[in-house]
């Protein structure tokens, strides 16, 4: 903030001495500017680095040396220990990882596919009641997640789906109003002439969707897939309430249970390694797709 308020105290055309002063001022301003940005960046990165160091230390070292000391003899064993059962404490992150992956893949495919179908109908088909129906979809955006947790549990109980993979992803896998809205905006921007041409060539609705809309909408489809993937991988409250046996736990649920289960500092190496294992797919998504993530945020605000 301070950087914008400051201005060179002298005019641009001055004596050589003054010009030097201006240069010093500019350099000082830039130093403060980048200093703040780098400082904020450091605060953002420190927990990851500490956790990485921590995951490579044996438990005894975690309790003694400062967290910022790099591991002297990397304790790689933490990773296989966390991944599958080791003698002292029950860990089965392989199972949790698999559960999370299954649920996330189903949720992502379902959400993108069914949202796409609905968005196509709202954007490209004419049918009576279209606007009213779309308005109902938008209205449901105002319902906070937490409000539906209790009744949703009741619904799943009546459907005999409690403690199944189905229950974890089904509520989000038939399309979400938000994603439908996002895709509809994009589909409406596709020129009608292209669609007409396909129709003359004998394409039905499915043909138009498959041959025209999907290939032309890759950015919004990737964005939607990312939103679904990140949501599902990070989701916690719903999996926490709907799963109740270890064999169905997702990573987040297992991690939270592990952290609250053993006493403070006990098996800290395992807790930190488990956290990093959970974060790995997000790190990959972040590195590969950061362009799309920033884009998705700008899409959201542009409505």
């Amino acid at each position: 903030m301070s950087a914008i308020a400051l201005d060179p105290p002298v005019s641009k055309h001055g004596t050589p001495g003054r010009r030097a002063l201006v240069r010093t001022w500019t350099i000082g301003k830039l130093t403060v500017f980048y200093g703040i940005l780098i400082g904020v960046g450091a605060i953002f990165m420190v927990p990851y680095i500490l956790a990485l160091f921590g995951s490579l230390k044996p438990e005894s070292q975690l309790l003694t040396v400062p967290p910022w000391d790099p591991p002297t003899h990397p304790a790689w064993a933490n990773y296989p220990d966390t991944w599958s059962n080791f003698s002292q404490v029950q860990t089965d992150f392989a199972q949790y990882f698999l559960n999370t992956a299954i649920v996330t893949v189903c949720l992502t495919i379902g959400q993108v596919f069914f949202s796409m179908l609905a968005a196509y109908a709202f954007a490209r088909l004419k049918f009576p009641g279209r606007e009213g129906l779309f308005w109902i979809y938008l209205m449901t955006l105002m319902v906070p997640n937490i409000v539906t947790i209790i009744p949703l549990y009741t619904v799943m109980d009546k459907l005999h789906l409690v403690n199944t993979y189905w229950a974890v992803f089904l509520p989000y896998a038939l399309g979400t109003p938000y994603t439908i809205f996002l895709m509809r905006q994009f589909f409406r921007g596709i020129p009608q002439e292209v669609v007409d041409a396909a129709r003359i060539d004998g394409c039905g609705d499915l043909g138009v969707l498959r041959r025209i809309i999907v290939p032309l909408s890759r950015p919004v489809l990737i964005t939607a897939a990312l939103i679904a993937f990140v949501f599902s991988w990070n989701n916690f409250l719903w999996p926490l309430v709907i799963t109740n046996t270890q064999s169905h736990y997702l990573l987040t649920v297992a991690l939270a249970n592990f952290n609250t289960g053993p006493g403070t500092g006990e098996y800290l190496n395992i807790a930190l390694t488990g956290s990093l294992i959970t974060l790995i797919p997000m790190v990959i998504v972040f590195i590969v797709f950061n362009r799309y993530i920033i884009r998705s945020i700008q899409l959201t605000s542009g409505k």
Binding site: I43, V143, T154
Partner: protein, 322 residues
């Protein structure tokens, strides 16, 4: 367009025209259009009904019923509503939630806006910082909660070690009823700051440069330009960010659950509404009371959202042309 739809609809429309005329024909065409659209709409519509609309209606009904998670429902009347205030600390939870929102929102918004203003200029490395700051937003909140739990640990944590260098004995952080909530708010700000920054950044990018150039010619300082141009024109962005953040903050759960070991402690100093709903419902298996708490939270969120909406609508919005 006309040609394409005519050919697609032709057989059915012709059939309809044979027996009927005028209005019935239009109704038949509408029916055909609906029939053609329904396979596309049906999955999401079923999902919407089963997993959103039915639950929202049912939560109101359930708040007047007794249900223990198994067996039949029984009528409770207003009993649930009385007991959430009497025994389940609904009032306290609302206060704690409001305190969290108050700690979270102003700091978060000001910092996000400040960072966006800093990054909204043509200097080297701006794109890099923008990407860097979004990293926490993607990171699993539960995993980051486990890491921050350790960072704030009063004996082993990095912060305690750091303060030790200067001979300072820090507070007990998450074990202290006065520090726990600020720490939780700080961790959440850390998580969502970059995300909010991007909204403000996108908003700033949408303001035409010519406005600043004109102000420059009139001799307005950068500070003045920010207050008189950037901030008023960011009104829509501000509304969006505040409404979504306030709604999100009222529902805070993941980070808080992990940082307090699922207790909302110490004592019940951080027992926010969502944690109370979870506790009463899934730990206490008193789903009727939990539903009443949910309805209460829903009402509060709706009132706050409507309030913000009215506040921003009544402020002048500026039109500009480039």
């Amino acid at each position: 367009m006309a040609l394409a739809t005519a050919s697609a609809d032709a057989p059915s429309a012709a059939q309809a025209a044979k027996s009927n005329g005028g209005r019935p024909q239009r109704a038949a065409r509408g029916f055909v259009a609906l029939a053609k659209a329904s396979p596309f709409i049906a999955p999401s519509f079923i999902g919407l009904i089963a997993f959103l609309i039915v639950p929202v209606i049912f939560v109101f009904i359930l708040s007047f019923l007794n249900w223990s998670g198994a067996g039949p429902f029984s009528w409770a009347g207003v009993q649930n509503w009385v007991s959430i205030f009497k025994y389940d600390g609904a009032g306290h939870s609302l206060g704690v939630t409001a305190y969290y929102v108050l700690l979270n929102i102003p700091a978060q918004t000001v910092l996000a806006l400040g960072l966006a203003v800093m990054l909204n200029r043509k200097r080297r490395g701006m794109a890099f910082f923008r990407v860097l700051y979004v990293a926490p937003y993607l990171s699993t909140p539960v995993a980051m909660g486990v890491i921050w739990f350790w960072v704030f640990e009063p004996q082993l944590g990095a912060i305690a070690h750091f303060l030790n260098i200067f001979g300072i004995a820090g507070p007990n952080w998450l074990n202290s009823s006065s520090w726990a909530m600020p720490v939780i708010a700080a961790v959440n700000i850390w998580q969502y700051l970059g995300f909010n920054m991007l909204f403000f950044f996108a908003g700033l990018q949408g303001i035409p440069r010519s406005l600043y150039e004109a102000a420059e010619i009139d001799g307005a300082s950068k500070w003045r330009q920010f207050w008189r141009i950037s901030l008023p024109l960011l009104n829509p962005t501000m509304l969006f960010v505040l409404v979504t953040d306030v709604i999100g903050s009222f529902q805070v759960f993941d980070t808080l659950y992990v940082l307090t070991g699922g207790t909302g402690g110490p004592g019940d100093s951080t027992k926010v509404m969502s944690l109370n709903i979870y506790d009463v419902g899934f730990q206490g298996t008193r789903y009727g009371e939990a539903a009443a708490l949910s309805v209460l939270l829903f009402s509060v969120i709706l009132i706050f959202s409507a309030g913000q909406f009215l506040f921003f609508r009544n402020r002048t919005t500026y039109e500009y042309s480039v």
